[in-house]
Subunit: 290 residues, 2 copies
């Protein structure tokens, strides 16, 4: 059911767990492998790179579009989060996606729902300190989607670095029979990491936001040049942001990629991460180094 | 692979997730249905009634024996909980069980494990008030076992009434593709609910413990006789315990069977529950009424 030549079919859109379960069960029974790409919609080339990889690697690709309310804090942007279903489906049609699962809030969280995932310890750092409950919501919806759509491989973006670490760890801790694949961050020609939230920014803010990816490049260059002090690297990253008048900085981090613990002496691969506000838009970005 | 006539095979005992996953995958690939009976061992006729039902209803039956450390509180009986593996396996052999999964603590909780299930709201009452963290541990290990052993049906005992409500609710909330079947409590000829913890009691204590099931029968008789006040029924149940000099009572409850909320006016089916200490042994029992 993967894309064949130039022949593109519209993906089938389903709204209920029952329908997508049946579709996936039928595909599995026919010996097909299943790829899952969970998204919140407002699809950009970052999402589409995951879709492309799934279509290339799996017989059947399911994309889910669900703006998950439980991962938004009370003062966050749940209401204004971009919802662009028609454009999303048109984009997915070009890639030979088989199924798009677009559940309602009630379908995923019927009245009385009260079981959650208490996410692994790595959820407590970074985003965990600035978005309490966020990773709990992410882990819960991802587990639910894994159960509704028992895929062979699930695809996530490196852009949400901590999310992917949390999901990998959850999958291991809860013995989930799924492979979690993390795909590289996609950037625009200026280096800005693609994000559905970029749509919130004015042209001036987008220009200012480039300092975030610039700070990550500075970190990579420093380390490539022999710098071994985590503190020095973090300080230089922070300076890049401040020079661009980005002052509402949630964190500038240089961490071990598995534990997400801040690195003192740089002696192996690390990840540099930034979370900061540009105008009213909160942005995150990261690069693995080494 | 179910029991055939008198021909009984020793169940195959495996200790690793990898082995039992492979066994179950092979059975599923061959079109077999899988029944799962999760236990902590020290098997009695209550457990064996679940096993019997699974063997009758499913092609392949997997029994798990794992004394789950995360469901015991720090001052509870984890260390002294009875472990009788040889006798257990001998008992299971008589029922045509196919696989017994006996993992080590490290196999189920390797170092660094830190993801848990935050159980549904119904976990907060009753046992939740007296054994904080207990239902979190139960829900977590049950979810893990469901993931390691993707069965069609999992069998639990009514004896652990709240546990079965929590597991049913978790299965619904997390979209687990498994049917949860709850089987009636098995009692000895005097009415004592079978429990691995009964082994802790002296003959005198076993005699005293009969007041617990007696109090449940009193509740059922009162309601059958037209009593409609929850308070009156709870008061009479408590009196039965006190008359037997059972004074360390964790709870005497008359609740709605789904929400586990205490019932004021009895207008439909209810469940009567008791948790109390007899000597050093904590016992729980319940009966659905109506």
């Amino acid at each position: 059911m993967a894309e064949t030549g130039d022949e593109k079919r519209l993906p089938r859109i389903v709204h209920t767990k029952r329908e997508i379960r049946e579709a996936v069960a039928a595909a599995r029974a026919a010996g097909k492998t299943i790829g899952l790409v969970p998204t919140m919609g407002a699809l950009h080339d970052g999402h589409l790179s995951l879709v492309q990889r799934s279509v290339a690697e799996c017989d059947v690709t399911v994309v889910t579009i669900f703006v998950n309310p439980t991962q938004f804090g009370p003062s966050e942007d749940l209401a204004k989060y971009p919802r662009t279903l028609e454009t999303d489906v048109a984009a997915l049609a070009k890639y030979g996606v088989d199924w798009v699962f677009v559940p309602s809030d009630d379908e995923m969280y019927p009245p009385g729902h009260s079981t959650f995932v208490e996410p692994p310890a790595v959820a407590d750092r970074l985003e965990g300190e600035h978005r309490p409950g966020h990773m709990r919501g992410v882990a819960t919806i991802v587990l639910k989607l894994f159960n509704v759509i028992p895929a062979d491989i699930a695809y996530f973006g490196q852009k949400d670095c901590q999310q992917s670490v949390v999901i990998r760890r959850m999958a291991e801790d809860l013995d989930l029979p799924i492979r979690v694949v993390v795909c590289p961050t996609v950037r625009d020609s200026h280096g800005l990491a693609l994000s559905s939230r970029n749509a919130y920014m004015s042209p001036g803010e987008r220009e200012q936001a480039l300092a975030i990816s610039r700070s990550l490049r500075v970190a990579a260059e420093l380390i490539a040049g022999g710098e071994r002090s985590g503190d020095v690297v973090r300080q230089r990253m922070r300076q890049v942001l401040i020079d661009a008048r980005i002052t509402q900085i949630d964190y500038v981090a240089l961490v071990d990629g598995d534990s997400l613990v801040e690195v003192g002496e740089i002696a192996g691969p690390v990840v540099a991460l930034v979370a900061a506000h540009v105008g009213k838009t909160r942005l995150i970005d990261n690069v693995p180094i080494g």
